[in-house]
Amino acid sequence: MFAIILANAGLITVLLINEGASQGELASSQSSIFNGGTIVFVDKTAVADTALDEAVSEPRVGEVGEDDSLSKADYANLRMAGFTQLVAFSERQYRFLCAEDDNSVNQVETSQEASELSLLGIDNQALFSYPAAGDKAGSISNNMTGLMSTNGGSAQSNHVVGAIHPATKSKLGCDVLFFSGAQKRSQKGSQKRSQKNSQLASGDTQDGEASSPRASSSGASSADILGETAGALPPSSGITSSSSSTVIVQLRVSTAVSQDAIVVSLSDFYRRNITEATWPLSGFLSLQTLSQNEKLDIQQRLSQTVQFEDVSTQQDTGSLPDSFKLNLWAMGALMAVVALFIVLNALNLMYRTRLPNIIRMRQLGIRSRHLTTALLTELLIYCVLSVPVGCAAGFYAASMLSPIISGTFSSLFDAVFITPDVNLISTLALSVIVTFLSLGIFALIPAKQLSTALSTRTVKAAQPMRKRSVLVWTIAGIALLAITQALISSTLHALLFVAILLLVSCSLVIVWLPILANGVMKVTPPSKPVLHFIVASTAQLSSRTRLAVCAFFIALTANIGMNVMTDSFRAATESWLTQRLYAPAYLYVDKALSELVIPEGVASTPLLRLQGKLVAQSNANPSGSASNNNSSSGNDFSSNSSKSADATTISISSYPTHDNGRNALVVDSSVPNAWTKFESGEGIYINQQLAFSHDVSLGDTLFLEEIKAVNIDENSNQINNRFFNKPPSFTVLGIYPDYGNMKAQLLLPLSNFNKDTIGDAAFSGVLAISYGQSTFQAGTPETPQTFEQKETTLATQGNLYSREELLTLSMDTFDRTFVLTDGLNITTLLVAGIAFAVSLSILSLSNASSLTVLRALGVSKTAVKLSLLGQYIFLCLLTALLAVPFGVYLAYVFIFKVNRLAFSWVYPLAVDVGLIISSVTVSLAIICLVIALPLGRLKPKVDLRQDAPL
């Protein structure tokens, strides 16, 4: 019964943790109210300031009392002009303190540490009245329902309703906040931070959308790493609340809010002495990305100079979250399977325990039907009792673990873990289904056995299969795997194949474990009788612990498989990033390329990005020349060799052709002299995603239409020359890995782009910086500066990251993303391990007479205990021995099937023996820990009249 409770508790715990992490990760990557971009007032004088001055100066956005700041009148004019997607906002920094409830505000200890957050007032009427269907605004307004309950509130009341990001709320750990008095005005602080981190998260490196930290996340720590803070705020020594000036904020959770802000209605923002006169609007949020024409129109309608901050790249969520979600899903499914085996095993053990009495009753004439009914009724009662207890234990365990996991996530990995909002019925239903499915499967066994069995001999554990049968079984299993593997053609197929792989491997373990144990027994020296007994006993035990072994085997195989996969992914990503990030530093900016000021002696290589639609592709044709297929107009693909393709949007990125670029380009495969041809514009490199998703091979030619720059809407079919010096060739010269990028992408030589006209339109906002000659001159060289001055000059224009910083951030993001899967993996392994140990303990009870005989023959008590422990460990080792090849195979399937079909990328399978040994060691340590406790209390009492085992 304990095992059933354990299985259910484990399942529920894993599901809840799973859900918490999934929702947390999702929440951190979901639409924010800044996603459509912002319009803020620009103080022109600030640009002229020196870098140092700018770093310490008060931001000028929304300066109090400035006449030319944005006003409600400007807002009204714009909305009347049809810009209904604009929502006015004003922002201010405050220190917030937690309160248990409204009444306890005055009792808060002054030692409590305050949290610095932005109070963001938005025009909620405009937000909610915006047509929501089918766009981001819909999700935003849905998430912001908390604000619907208040219509501004009374200016006299000190109660307001505020929306907060769930991760922020989780960190604060309270439902009510209060603040009094502004600490400092902000320079759209949250926007800037989030944008900076979104740039990191989007992985925009010089080579395009190419880095793993695409797993979007809160970026606060990233900003901290880079030394950026919201401002020189005084030490947070607490606030003495004053009831007269205190504002109490009732928190409502919304994922649309950025993580360092609390959003209230604009009318709640402007209260008491805070008025538009004293604190003007900070800017306008755009609920939809503004086109270039719209931006120009808005600028013309405003008398002030405004800056458009397009942060739509934040939504380049990338695929690590997808990979992460798939991992979580897989872990949940895995735990369900493990739970199924555990319950099945528990039922089997219960049946075995009752078997002698059942047989005696059969011998006394009771019908098998009655006995089966009685047995199943008893087991049903156990299941009915165990499921709610197990679920309650699981909920309790998850709630106990949540703060720990959340704390660990936020402190170590800057990841989000929130207390999940789960569908109770579906969660419980899964638990019930698993338990009763096990019971249903199990019900077939006793009914069959009891119908014929009248002695224990006939129902004893089945003898191991003969070697020939095992061989046939093994060949059949491997053949089945080979056939089904060949049939994989979609992600669903790949996942089904994983299930088949686990089941087939389980069946092979069942037949091979006794053979393996017997083989070991044969080579064990009989001169060591206790050791010989351990091995022989294990061989015997192996045929009676099949189901428990299966649960443990699946958990261990998955553990090894996931670890190998993650390790391979990590190694591939790190190696790839290390090579790919060739420049000493990278600058992320919001400005146009022409506006950038590049210090003298600093070389900058911009990343230019276009996008086009792949409308067709032609197969590699040795006779075909690139010049014949170099048109991007889409008119040349009507030859027989052409085939139609889905009109998929493809990112076209520039790639430098200097030596550093050449050395940095990692390719999976390429045609001869690929680089030379690439340099001379005779072809392109494509990423794995494009190659896999469209079955593009080396030498194929792509046909693209509707090429346009990322910053303008104009189609290039008519203005092709504006982008390129000469019509580019789209013949595939090589395929390169592009981990973390879900998009199809191709690389064109930077020299192919029209330097004179393309700059601003195609500039992606990223520059590779090195301290040599510029490869693409931007801006005006200035007077000679020191290295520090150069860095400062660059940093004031955007966010400057060193190569090491980017690498560290990327790998941190990677680790953060996968740490939970490791945790879930260990949880599953722990549950399987405990269940395995419980099963072994129960079985060892039936084998207790052997232990007492050992004692009677002169074996010491310690040696007997060690022999028992040895049996367990030996069985675990045998299971691990079988789990290792299947684990590695599973990793292969994950990498080359699941990843390829789900994310269109593959990476080399790196089998680290040390990692596998550590996985197995950890598993064995868990088992030893679990069984060592009851073993310590084992007292093998010697008795002359002990019964022989049944």
Binding site: D943, R945, Q946
Partner: protein
């Protein structure tokens, strides 16, 4: 030589001791059978001699190995324990040495059982995981005097050599009991305790098995103590005894008293 002096064993909650000042002396190579009513303490006596249990008082020694020499007081003297350990390290304990509560020194008793004792259980208690050969060889391997040739001869004598490679589960009751006897003899112990060795066997097999047991022990100069309900088996012993009211007698108690 098995020597038991004034052996008393009481159980908690029972006023009368099950064994009361019991004395027994058996020379090497001699055999003793003990009969008695159910519950009279036969198996308790064997358990005490085997060191499975500790007596309330009295002395038990096998050859010069003092298994137990104690008083009524259950207190344990630290210094005596230290002496026991020292004696145990020497591997030999003289009967003249005053040792209290030796039986409490578990390792001593384990060593005694391993090196000097052979036990034949009523329910055989063979290991399911071994075949017949490995079952029999277990005690010799444990003791370190494993001799395949000797084991072969022993098994031939017991007529179980053809069964050597068979799993225990495929042997009949008589075959299993003969294996158990071989296991008890193969490491050449100085004392064999047999608890109802023929209790599960038919008459013919019982006779054959008991004959072998007595003959082999006699040939090996091994002391044999058999607890049995079978008069035929009991009568084959050099010294057939009856256990009644906690004491050993050469005469059977009257039926009225047994009842």
């Amino acid at each position: 030589m098995l020597k038991i002096e004034k052996l008393t064993k009481s159980f908690e909650g029972v006023t009368a001791p099950i064994l009361c000042d019991l004395d027994l002396s058996v020379n090497n190579g001699d055999s003793v059978s003990i009969q008695g009513a159910s519950g009279c303490g036969k198996s308790t006596l064997l358990s005490l001699i085997a060191g499975f249990d500790t007596p309330t008082s009295g002395t038990i020694s096998v050859n010069d190995y003092c298994l137990y020499e104690g008083s009524e007081s259950p207190s344990q003297d630290a210094s005596s324990n230290a002496r026991n350990l020292a004696a145990a390290e020497k591997g030999k304990v003289g009967t003249e040495t005053v040792l209290n509560n030796v039986a409490r020194n578990k390792s001593n008793v384990d060593d005694f059982r391993k090196n000097h004792l052979g036990i034949v259980f009523q329910s055989y208690n063979l290991f399911d995981c071994f075949n017949a050969w490995d079952n029999i060889a277990f005690t010799a391997r444990l003791k370190g005097n494993y001799n395949p040739q000797y084991q072969t001869e022993l098994m031939e004598q017991l007529n179980i050599l053809p069964l050597a490679k068979k799993p225990i589960s495929q042997l009949s009751g008589g075959e299993q009991q003969r294996c158990a006897i071989a296991r008890a003899l193969v490491h050449k112990p100085s004392l064999i305790l047999a608890d109802e060795p023929t209790g599960n066997l038919d008459e013919a097999t019982s006779q054959a098995v008991s004959d072998i047991l007595y003959d082999v022990c006699s040939a090996m100069n091994t002391t044999l103590l058999v607890v049995t309900h079978s008069p035929d088996v009991a009568q084959k012993a050099k010294l057939p005894l009856w256990l009644h009211k906690g004491k050993l007698n050469e005469e059977k108690a009257p039926i009225r008293e047994l009842q």
